[in-house]
Symmetry: D3
Subunit: 238 residues, 6 copies
């Protein structure tokens, strides 16, 4: 049995709290069980230098973990003087995922930066980040619409993500930390709200996986993402 009697294809309780902090144009606390990530979207009315003058916008992301988000303390990246490879990998993934559902051309020369800071880490921080950042970004775009800076929200829909994995014989959805560290295969899947794929990143930590296992993983991910999108929509409907 999984912890808390979860079914194999069941995601953890997901909670999305909007307007979590006061200053960001979009501010979301996203919780997947014990994993808690604060996603703050910032609007700036200029774009990176290499994009200037093209009339297009940009969406980017940064990711960080508070030192004691984890079971034992992780060294603060600001103190060690650089962001590690894992951090860079994750923030690049979040940013690509967000851009995949935005019409950059329709944004004009505006930049949205989503900071995803992990308050508590119990597995799946990158997929929770993407799922929460999508809502924070939606609020930031609504802010721009409300303030007359944009005519319409340039998002084509939501983006959501979940991790799936193979543990022994089982395909599990939304792994928590103890499951993740024991899994043979770990896959992060990012999809549009229509269930089309934006990113899949699967890694065999132990045994290589077969074509059939891949299909099972994708199946499980799709089901999970459907649930996450429902929570995103409900949060935005409030």
């Amino acid at each position: 049995m999984r912890p808390n009697d979860r079914a194999k294809d069941q995601v953890r309780p997901i909670k999305i709290t909007r307007n979590y902090t006061a200053y960001a144009e979009g501010s979301v606390l996203v919780e997947f069980g014990n994993t808690k990530v604060l996603c703050n979207a910032t609007v700036e009315e200029n774009v990176p230098r290499w994009l200037k003058g093209q009339g297009k916008g940009w969406v980017t992301a940064e990711y960080g973990m508070l030192p004691r988000a984890t079971h034992s303390r992780t060294r603060r990246e600001a103190a060690s003087g650089k962001q590690g490879g894992r951090t860079m990998e994750i923030q690049r993934l979040i940013a690509r995922s967000l851009r995949a559902v935005v019409d950059l051309q329709a944004m004009g020369e505006i930049m949205v930066t989503v900071d995803c800071d992990v308050i508590q880490a119990d597995g799946g921080t990158r997929t929770a980040s993407i799922s929460g950042a999508s809502v924070a970004m939606a609020d930031a775009f609504q802010y721009l619409v409300d303030n007359g800076k944009l005519k319409a929200n340039p998002m084509r829909g939501h983006v959501a993500a979940v991790s799936v994995g193979i543990l022994g014989e089982d395909v599990l959805c939304d792994l928590e930390y103890v499951e993740d560290s024991a899994a043979d295969t770990d896959m992060n899947v990012v999809m549009t709200e229509e269930g089309k794929m934006i990113e899949i990143q699967g890694t065999a930590e132990g045994e290589p996986f077969s074509h059939e296992e891949l299909l099972d993983l994708l199946d499980s991910a799709k089901k999970g993402i459907t649930e996450i999108v429902a929570v995103q929509k409900a949060a935005l409907a409030d």
Copy 2:
């Protein structure tokens, strides 16, 4: 009148939430009005190299601000590759303040690190950090006592801090951001629960201040700190 009809010598509503995150040995969310700081205390059973073999413990602190804790986005220190001078100054102050109320000899070769991460910044983040860190540290020491690692809590009492300032003719206690940026003089005062001084740092941002003004500032600080200590004690009594 001050924002929210505060009296000149009145601190903002202070709230201390213990066990805010799940893994740290002491975890406190401290709120001074809109200023919110997460203070996580970590226990490690070894000390810095320069202290090894002396049978003494150590208490240290690190400070950070989430990029969008502030009205406009601040660059992430991990991304810029170093902690700024302000960050270093603050984390050194927090650490000294905490050590001032701990019997390091009684700790044995144990290290406590308190991470103070600002979730939302509305003035007084360093004094809120100290006030919250004191409670997080108390919980961490209690954890060590409960687990038989220490016979008794080596804290000699609480440490609390508040900022005071001169704005025009007025001496104000616990300045929020709009007050702080307009103040002529800004002073941070750190005291023991008995009202003895651990640190005072006063800066004339505009006009130099007189001896009498200093006395008024200290008076106001002492009153504020008394209230903060009461909140600390109430929080620990829960």
Copy 3:
């Protein structure tokens, strides 16, 4: 038509030159068309600190591009003072892929580091790196066997990788630079010589991709990898 009249599912001419440099325990120049990567495997008889005393070995990788491997000059990472996010992401992928086919337990406390340095970049440098590094690593293990440090080669088989992508309506195998920059979807697939999956990383650069497109991409990748494994085996048979 593809450049050089390639069929959609055809890999570029692949060439693996062993013993390319004189000092490394395994040294391979791998060419996928105009993409050329030098893969040097180094044997060291100690392991990273966190692994010491466990009787296990370790395999790691580093990746770099010569500044003028690309059409226009890329800034030297040693001069800019840090490895970029893309570099970190790639070297982590190479290392995981190599470890997936090695019995670390059987290595004893030995470390193999494979340096993949791109001499010329025309798309697919990370997949060429993995495919070449597998051969360099095999030579390094053979060196350890020949010198009596290991009883048997701890590799369970070869690992090979290829990039596949969707360009317009077409699924293409082993994209070169001009194809890669125009592709809607880009996927890197890493497989064992038996065709089981070690890593898949698919990204929708433009339109999200469907389940059917994913299956077509995997199909194309599997066919390409079969050819690459044949070249690896032929090279080692020389």
Copy 4:
């Protein structure tokens, strides 16, 4: 008794040598007993980017210690790749202190940078730096007046600083190294020549200090600063 039979409230012999080096617009060697700091003021006719176009000037400071200014060798900060927290704290203090006596508006878009480099350290390097930098800055402003770049010197008066401390029962003025390392409380006081306060920074290294002790410390500091200002004025009168 204090070293060299000093009275408790007596500052060390203070010496200010102007024009110590040949190129700086203001160059002062300041000596407080064995503490020797070279303060070089540089004039540049542009201001930091964030200040451009406002018609205001800027005063800043940097601080460093030669590696063998101290009893045992301190690692060179240029070699370790960053300035430590103590250095940053000190140079920020010096800069704030200098700005407190300058009418930045009256400077026009000119920047003065004062480099304080410690040749020999025997306690009180930051207060000696401030006291010497005030004179170097005065010379730099005079240079601007003499060259027709400024109509009048924009300094409102001198700024001077001294450290005071509590050692056992005694309040001591201008602590040297052996006193400083044994003191319970250490306070740096920065004042205008009229004796108004610009900065006070007091730290209880051992026992917290009382209100009465603070008053005694300030008293002692004020007396010491009066003497330092006299030396500053005499030096400038030469």
Copy 5:
């Protein structure tokens, strides 16, 4: 006897391969025996900021070693976060040597950067780099002439370099690694094709050297450089 029966004043077999990579405006693989350096010259139509608007060009160089160019693996400078002192020294030497044979005024506001990356190191990598970079730079200038960006090649002639040394009683030309590490004196000599001196850098690693020994070293260097220039000219004549 020297390795491979070389005479004392004999350079190793030298080979210069042009157009070694596909994208650089000048691309040369230079081999001095087992020392192999890839020299890629890049043309950019702008100059460093400090040179803008003067109508002059600039030539610069960077140097790097692949981690396994050496007998044991050298740490990757990009990973350690900075270029070492040896690297900086060498790339400054290469750049000065190249500029010494170029009429910067005649270049116009164009910059040529030559990247010298050591593929295999067996002594004399800096002198091989200079000798190869001269040819790569010549090709880059020819590219500019062929494309109508320059009317004539601004090089005044070739620049070539060789290392000479004293080993025991013998003066040796073009030292390989085993000779270099045993030599008492090591000298790098850079000359124009007419045999005039651009740089000499001689170091007594063991015994100081006499005036007579210096003359013998220069004699040997001049003879070696004559041979290298012949190879450069032959390569460019192909």
Copy 6:
């Protein structure tokens, strides 16, 4: 005529002040005209890790310039986060020069570090540094002898250095800044007190130089170094 009516082969007035600061085991202020360098030698009773256990000592050096040692302010290397190429080149040269006159075997496992910090720069700072560091090192070794740590001073004699150059038709000795920046060729020569060569580094900044010019430069350098050694000996005889 040269500035101050110097003859072509005449060195500037040289002054060596011993015991310039109080704490270093050897402390020398060396002046070559307006060039002033503080050379502090530190003794530590351990050696770098790679030398441990071999019973040998080590001599190393670091070099720095105070920001306003120069006509216009140079950025502080500690603030920019790294030592530049010129600094590294110079400190490596100083260290090699010092080691050339020391019997490292006779030192035992002791390390001497000489910090050369330029207080005022008017050309020839590296050669002044070497000439002053030799005396500071001699004092440090004498300190070790006096304290019974060494039986005898392990220096084989003094090391001294001078810069020479060609300006127009003239060979000049000990160039000051205005001469140095105008010179066609600049050469730094390091010799033992017997006039044997330790290092020569000659660079053609403008025209390449001939064999005859080299001989003239060496001649001039030798004469200058003879005078410098006399000043070194006189200083140590005091």
